[in-house]
């Protein structure tokens, strides 16, 4: 009978559905056997895979789950979740952000095994047990597209102040500091170097030359690399990468000094996975990890590891400013708000 066949079909379909849902249940059960460590990070995706692989090779009982976004967004996310944090750990986020969060009593202090071997001012020494530990330095830079510069007859900017030259009008792109950590370290550096008033004056001047502000810190350099804009205010690693890719780019470390920030990690208070987080923290200060950090970044927390990285500007490390993390961290919120009110709406241009 046709009806019967029809219903037997429905029955088989039902069985298949039941089976598949059981299967997926048991699969998720299998995953539960490992400790899932939820880690918020601003490190870029291509590198994350490497870190995850190396760590999990050593600790097969732990599985890292990254939540990755730009510095500003990860910071905002952490702040928004303050009452009920989801993350177990924050890793590879700007130290200025961690410092601010530490003041909100966000973290569980922990001194990873071997932390004392690190460069002293690269981790939190204000507290008895460090709230955060630095990993490596990322340094602001300017990416200049040489072909475009020639085409528009733009001189290569060697100093920050050069960028105020009206000749650059519409040729400069810069990350929005509200979303991008790279954008913020530049703003922070200008304020630290020149004082509030001069720095804001400088930014107002610069604003006139900016084509637009980007969401991420990488994008200005990528846009410069693609010849979309001649000058991208970005960070050194991205510029070096673009050169390796064949982009006609020069990476400039301005003479006045370059802003930088530490990528650092911290364990979130009251995490249920403290043991796993501690293991990851211990691994993160190890020599092995620092060797990996050095693959793309010129300066790392473990002394004696760093080897020069291809295509980095020559004197960039020497030009790093004397960065006051306390100042940057404490004033982050207020600086960003002021920046947003001044520059984020098109009408003020």
């Amino acid at each position: 009978m046709k009806t019967k066949r029809y219903f037997s079909k429905i029955r088989t379909l039902g069985k298949a559905l039941l089976l598949s849902s059981l299967l997926s249940l048991s699969m998720s059960g299998g995953l539960l056997a490992k400790t899932n460590l939820l880690v918020y990070t601003a490190v870029e995706a291509d590198e994350l895979r490497l870190f995850k692989k190396s760590f999990e090779k050593k600790h097969s009982d732990i599985s890292i789950k990254w939540v990755r976004d730009s510095t500003g967004i990860i910071t905002a996310k952490l702040l928004a979740e303050k009452r009920k944090p989801r993350a177990d750990m924050v890793w590879g986020l700007a130290a200025t952000s961690l410092l601010m969060l530490a003041q909100e009593d966000y973290f569980q202090g922990y001194a990873p095994k071997g932390v004392q071997k690190l460069v002293p001012n690269f981790y939190d020494r204000k507290h008895a047990t460090p709230q955060w530990v630095g990993q490596r330095v990322w340094i602001g830079s300017i990416c200049v597209n040489t072909i475009l510069a020639k085409q528009y007859q733009l001189p290569t900017p060697m100093r920050w102040s050069d960028l105020l030259n009206p000749i650059y009008k519409g040729h400069v792109v810069m990350p929005n500091p509200n979303s991008s950590g790279t954008g913020f370290l530049d703003v922070s550096a200008w304020i630290q170097m020149w004082g509030e008033e001069n720095a804001w004056n400088y930014m107002e001047g610069l604003h006139k030359n900016i084509a637009h502000y980007t969401h991420s810190g990488s994008k200005p350099c990528k846009l410069a690399g693609a010849g979309e804009f001649a000058i991208g205010i970005s960070f050194a690693k991205r510029g070096a990468n673009m050169i390796s890719k064949g982009a006609p780019i020069k990476v400039i470390a301005p003479e006045e000094g370059v802003g930088w920030d530490l990528e650092a990690f911290a364990i979130v208070k009251n995490t249920k996975k403290l043991a796993a987080a501690k293991k990851f923290a211990d691994w993160s200060v190890s020599r092995e990890a620092n060797v990996l950090y050095n693959r793309e970044y010129a300066k790392v927390a473990y002394p004696g590891v760093a080897k020069p990285v291809a295509n980095f500007p020559n004197r960039i490390v020497a030009r790093m400013i004397d960065n006051d993390f306390e100042f940057a961290g404490n004033h982050r919120k207020q600086i960003l708000k002021k920046w947003a009110s001044k520059f984020s709406s098109k009408k003020t241009k």
Binding site: T3, Y6, I10, E44, A45, D46, R49, K65, W66, V67, R68, S70, G72, I73, A76, K77, L79, A80, R83, K84, I147, G170, N178, S179, A211, H212, Y213, T214, H215, S216, S218, K219, P220, C221, K222, L223, A226, G227, E228, F229, K245, G246, A247, P248, S344, S345, K346, K347, K349
Partner: protein
Amino acid sequence: MLSDSTHSNPLFAIWKKGTRFLQKDFQTNLGGFFTLSLAVAVLCLVILLPLSFLFIKSFQDQDGLFIGWFNFAEYFSLLDEQGNFIGLLEGLRSFPDSAVAVSLGNSLQISLISAVLVTSLALLYAYGLSRTNIPFKGAWKVVAQIPILAPSLLPAISLFYLFGNQGILKGLLMGESIYGPIGIVLGEVIWTFPHALMILLTGLSLSDARLYEAAESMKVSKMKIFFTVTLPGMKYPLISTFFVVFTLVITDFGIPKVIGGDYSVLATDIYKQVVGQQNFQVGSVIGLILLFPALLSFYVDRRIQRKQVALVTAKSVVYKSKKNPKLDAIFLVINGLIASAILSILFMAAFASLIEFWPYNLSLTLSNYDFDQMDGGSWEAFRNSLEMAGWTALFGTPLIFSFAYLSQKMVGFRRTKNLIHLLSMIPLAVPGMVLGLAYVFFFNHPDNPLNFLYDGMTILVLCTIVHFYTVSHLTAVTALKQIDSEFEAVSASLKVTQLVTFFRVTVPICLPVILDISVYLFMNAMTTVSAVIFLYSSDTTLASIAVLNMDDAGDTAPAAAMAMMILMTSACVRLLHLVITRKMIARTQSWRK
């Protein structure tokens, strides 16, 4: 005893009426009562409750305390630096300079321009297709449908390559920058074109040929016929198109995000507030503002549909275009131009995705498709999208179809059925981002027992089903209305349960439509950005989100590659759909008339 005054209380009367009709239905058809109640409960849960949470949230602070209009004041720049209210008058004075005024103005501007442009271009294209004898009509139709297969980000990315500072057609802009209103409008025009064309084609096919014959017999010129017969007859479809496009544009954030530069619009504002600053409260305020144009458009469209029905009578005669080589030539050129614009957008994206390093190394490569090496993208995102779209079609289709069936074919329960239909209409008026945000508030609420759904594939599937609910529902309703309304009565008289008749008769008859709905859901789930942008988690990144994130990180070529993957998937599904439908109809031809 109840006093007389209680009896005359209107609320009491409504209550009494309500309980009485419930009681009666309840007694006679217990199964039907529970099924319908379940449907109403589910629809309330996934549509009404989340939206009310959004509404409430806009009056609360981060910790859920009621703070009145504070969030509105914050967004409308009515607060000074200390957070004190500056007064309405002062606010009004400074309003034109505020960020919200800029965004609002920008949003209205691009939406208006896009709507006017698309409506007129689509009218020309549709006229060419239905009123002239240009060759390759099938091909023109196919080309016009291409933008619907990809997320709105794809035209924006193509524009970057076409008109950016290194763009191959940069000269056409005559020194203007593509980053800003020009780019947004161009992108929106391409992206919304298929939507506009579909409405106008239907509208033109409904016009009554007798009017044209009458006009032609009076020796009136073609041009005059167009302005005196065609255009007035198209009044409602044109208004409808205008509002649909206006709403699509004002609520789209993909294109402004990719090509808009610093040109802020409401849709990117809500994204910046929610994602950039995690300020969900102000986000919900903007969400409420965005609801207005959508609600207006919804209202206008409903009114018009009612009038449109009366316009076409059973006696109308289908128009057959006559030979007119001159007209054909003109429209061949117009349609050719529009189609080639769409094709060049498609080819540019395809080409860009295959280029090693634009513009300095133009050798061909597949490395941009190596998504696992990109920041923000991965093949997993693509697999997630397939999975999400699959579940959306698999669960959404039976859910929507059976709810539509309940609202049309249950015996009795008139009011409950109307309620289901009404609830089903709501999602059409809710922009994707607003729905997504509402879902965040509702499902991420710590006290919600459904909290476990958050953070996984389920919430994405659910939100996508609801986002595209109304169109699917209406499709199902139209099909169900064409079925003899007495089938249920007949099967009841034959003592066969309604469920058996549903499976043995209704479903087989509606199978082509059920397939249509599932394909519609699948394709939209593949391409949607707005409905899922606030809801994805690290494990459930989707292909369309990956396009956005890769573009954000400056990896434009891989973003183009991922957009192409989505487009090709949608195209394959569409083709498969055509083949299956054709086969199915052929197989059942013996009983389909």
